[in-house]
């Protein structure tokens, strides 16, 4: 029996002796999806991730994996790339990868077989006997990623995966994340990088000052936060746009484009996009028309700033 929600947290509370890191956070990560955990610095993302990884224990609340309360053995079903990540500098790459894989519960033979596959895939077989200290930062990041996914865990957790990765490795990471999803893995990652959220995430949750303030599907959230703005390209030179759309929409900007012009419009209360198009047809020839949805960055800023008492 498979539940639709693969990873769930229920009312997770964590307080340190000076501040509250999490006050009752509940999340549900659907199976086989990519879930983005967003929030400003110090919001509690890393605290939550550490609790899911059983590195720290919650004061109260529960973490469920596949519909069951998590047990210690479950850490072997998670691949975790922490924000603070590193390797033993004076250990050989191969030895080290083997060691970390065995700590995740793989037998020596299984680990060797899988390592061979990944080293070939990344074309880094020649690194096996090199010491980590001899590798560049970017090379080390590849190794770190590799040991995270090596044991083929059904749940992958990346904490700020794009911070500190160079652009080449960040691209590689994105590609691999999508590939892992296609293979059926469930992926949770925290990030500041809103562009990557739009590119990758199916669902997000936004955490601000220890509380979850927003969650849901990325597409739905965009709909929810849209401001009924439209971009219209129109061949209608020399007319007063403000007067033309009076009663249907408010003109935010109006830029000439050769013989045409580009208008940015916001619908007024009670009208819809069809009415706007009908109005436009009367005025001139429509070259293009599309709804402007807010970027995740806009949503993020809007939500976080709303909640911030005077700043």
């Amino acid at each position: 029996m498979q539940s639709e929600i693969f990873l769930e947290t229920r009312d997770v509370v964590k307080a340190y002796h000076r501040h509250t890191a999490l006050s009752g956070v509940s999340l549900g990560v659907p199976r086989g999806s990519i879930f983005g955990l967003l929030g400003p610095n110090g919001a509690g993302k890393t605290s939550l991730i550490r609790i899911i990884n059983r590195i720290t224990a919650p004061d109260s609340g529960q973490v469920l994996l596949d519909g069951r309360a998590m047990v210690a053995q479950d850490v072997e079903r998670i691949g975790y790339l922490p924000e603070e990540r590193g390797l033993y500098k004076d250990m050989k790459v191969g030895e080290q990868a083997l060691y970390l894989a065995r700590l995740k519960g793989l037998s020596r033979q299984d680990a060797l077989r899988k390592l061979k596959h990944w080293f070939e895939k990344f074309e880094i077989e020649s690194w096996w006997d090199k010491k980590v200290a001899e590798l560049s930062k970017g090379m080390q990041q590849k190794v770190q990623f590799l040991v995270t996914v090596l044991h083929e865990p059904p749940l992958l957790i990346f904490d700020e995966p794009f911070s500190g990765f160079d652009p080449v490795n960040a691209e590689l990471l994105k590609r691999e994340i999508l590939e892992l999803k296609a293979k059926g893995s469930t992926i949770l990652f925290s990030t500041h990088n809103m562009a990557s959220v739009e590119e990758l995430c199916d669902n997000i949750a936004l955490i601000d000052r220890s509380r979850k303030v927003l969650d849901g599907q990325v597409a739905a959230i965009k709909q929810q936060y849209k401001q009924n703005q439209f971009e219209l390209e129109l061949e209608a030179p020399g007319q007063d746009a403000q007067a033309l759309f009076a009663g249907t929409a408010e003109v935010i900007s109006d830029q000439p484009r050769g013989t045409a012009r580009r208008l940015l419009l916001r619908l007024t209360e009670g009208s819809d996009s069809n009415q706007l198009v009908a109005k436009a047809l009367q005025i001139g020839k429509i070259l293009s028309f599309r709804e402007l949805l807010p970027s995740m960055n806009d949503v993020f800023l809007q939500v976080v700033q709303q909640k911030t008492p005077k700043s």
Binding site: I55, V75, L81, P82, R85, G86, D90, M91, L103
Partner: protein, 432 residues
């Protein structure tokens, strides 16, 4: 448990493969041997340095008193000779000026170099002995009586075993063995304890610790490291024991041959001396043989492991609490203090291995690993005392490991924060 095994394996292999470990392990006994052999060789070199001293003796008694030795020779010149011309000639190392009434006026030694303490004491003790004898003779004591005053009594120590049989023992050997063992425990606990600490700091600064923490429990991380390093220490100890036995055996094979030859020469000239030396040699050897090696090695390993676990756990906690090695100072001192104290006091305890200081320090777990090892070769520690000391040590290392684990699991994920004792106390109390 199996994960502790994987960690232990890494910690052990990484250290044992290091060049510095291999060098220290195989060179250690050689260096130790050199520590004993080199001074003897150097002494042999020093003896070659032969000095002659001119004596201007106004008293006329010195010719019998100052006897030339292999280091010093005395030339008795006409006391009327001029000091200044002798200085300019520079033929002698020094010129000894002995006035007629040397007892009240004193003797003077002129030289261009500062004379060594050996030269000084050789001259003054010879003259003092002569004066004493002269005075005794003047007081009417006969020469034969004076000679009989130079007494020497041989004191052999023989110890009864439990069954009443006797065996030769040597206080000196028990002292030496006790001190060496105590020193080794002291050294091993510090060297390997701080290796644990550095290992933890390395994991923190490498930022690998969180990757590990997502696979294993902090307690397993800590114990894997502590036990792995313990095995490294025991490996080194084992190699040292084997190498020392081989070296001693080799040295005996080559050196004893020489000594046998020398003895035979002596045998010809003085059969009595020969017997004496042989007896002495026998006593030493039998005293060495009679040491209870089984008990000594067994207890050494027990107290090493106990003391090491007690301290290594604390070292691990310190490593977890700080960000780099320079910050460790404030925490290290209180940890190391009892051990240093035990080692310093060990010298008093050797002199009185059954006193109450010895008793208390060998029962208190923070000092017992060092102090008990000083006492064990004397075989005067009762079974009850040993069990009390051992039991307390075990209980205490369980306690320190428990405490250390609490600090460790909070500390390893804490970066860039100056840690105070108050903070540590909170970690222990809440330890979440």
């Amino acid at each position: 448990m199996s994960k502790i095994g994987i960690i232990l394996e890494r910690e052990y292999m990484q250290r044992v493969k290091k060049k510095s470990f291999v060098i220290m392990t195989f060179l250690g006994p050689v260096l130790m041997a050199a520590l004993f052999v080199v001074p003897i060789l150097l002494q042999g070199l020093e003896d070659e340095d032969y000095k002659s001293i001119a004596v201007l003796d106004a008293s006329g008694q010195m010719e019998q008193v100052l006897q030339s030795s292999e280091m010093l020779s005395f030339d008795f010149l006409d006391p009327g000779r001029d000091l200044e011309t002798l200085r300019q000639e520079g033929e002698y190392y020094g010129i000894l000026l002995v006035p007629k009434d040397y007892e009240s006026q004193g003797i003077k030694l002129f030289s261009t170099e500062q004379p060594s303490i050996n030269i000084k004491s050789q001259i003054s003790s010879a003259v003092e002995a002569h004066l004493r004898e002269t005075k005794l003779l003047e007081a009417g004591i006969r020469q034969s009586q004076i000679d009989s005053l130079r007494a020497h009594v041989a004191l052999d120590t023989i110890r009864w075993r439990e069954d009443g049989s006797a065996e030769a023992s040597s206080t000196e050997i028990a002292m030496a063995v006790g001190f060496i063992l105590a020193f080794m425990i002291y050294m091993f606990v510090f060297i390997y304890g701080s290796q644990v600490m550095r290992g933890v700091i390395e994991e923190k600064t490498n930022r690998i610790v969180e990757v590990l923490a997502s696979s294993v429990k902090p307690f397993e991380m800590m114990m894997g490291k502590v036990l792995g390093v313990a095995l490294v220490a025991l490996t080194q100890f084992a190699v040292w024991v084997v190498l020392t036995i081989v070296l001693v055996w080799a040295a005996q094979a080559t050196l004893l041959g020489d000594m046998g030859g020398q003895m035979q020469q002596m045998n010809l000239s003085d059969p009595q001396a020969m017997e004496q030396i042989q007896n002495m040699d026998m006593d030493w050897q039998s005293a060495l043989m009679n040491l209870n090696y089984f008990a000594i090695v067994g207890w050494f390993i027990f107290y090493f492991i106990g003391g090491y676990l007690l301290y290594a756990a604390l070292f691990a906690a310190v490593g977890a609490a700080v960000d780099n090695e320079t910050e460790t100072q404030q925490f290290i001192l209180p940890i190391t203090l009892p051990m240093i104290l035990a080692f310093v006091l060990a010298q008093n305890i050797i002199a009185n291995p059954d006193g109450s200081l010895a008793f208390w320090l060998s029962v208190i777990p923070f000092t017992s690993p060092v102090v008990m090892l000083v006492r064990i070769p004397f075989e005067s520690v009762s079974v009850g005392e040993l069990l009390l000391s051992a039991g307390l040590l075990v209980a205490t290392f369980v306690l320190t490991i428990w405490l250390a684990a609490k600090i460790y699991r909070t500390g390893i994920l804490m970066y860039g924060k100056k840690i105070t004792y108050a903070e540590l106390w909170k970690w222990i109390r809440y330890g979440g």
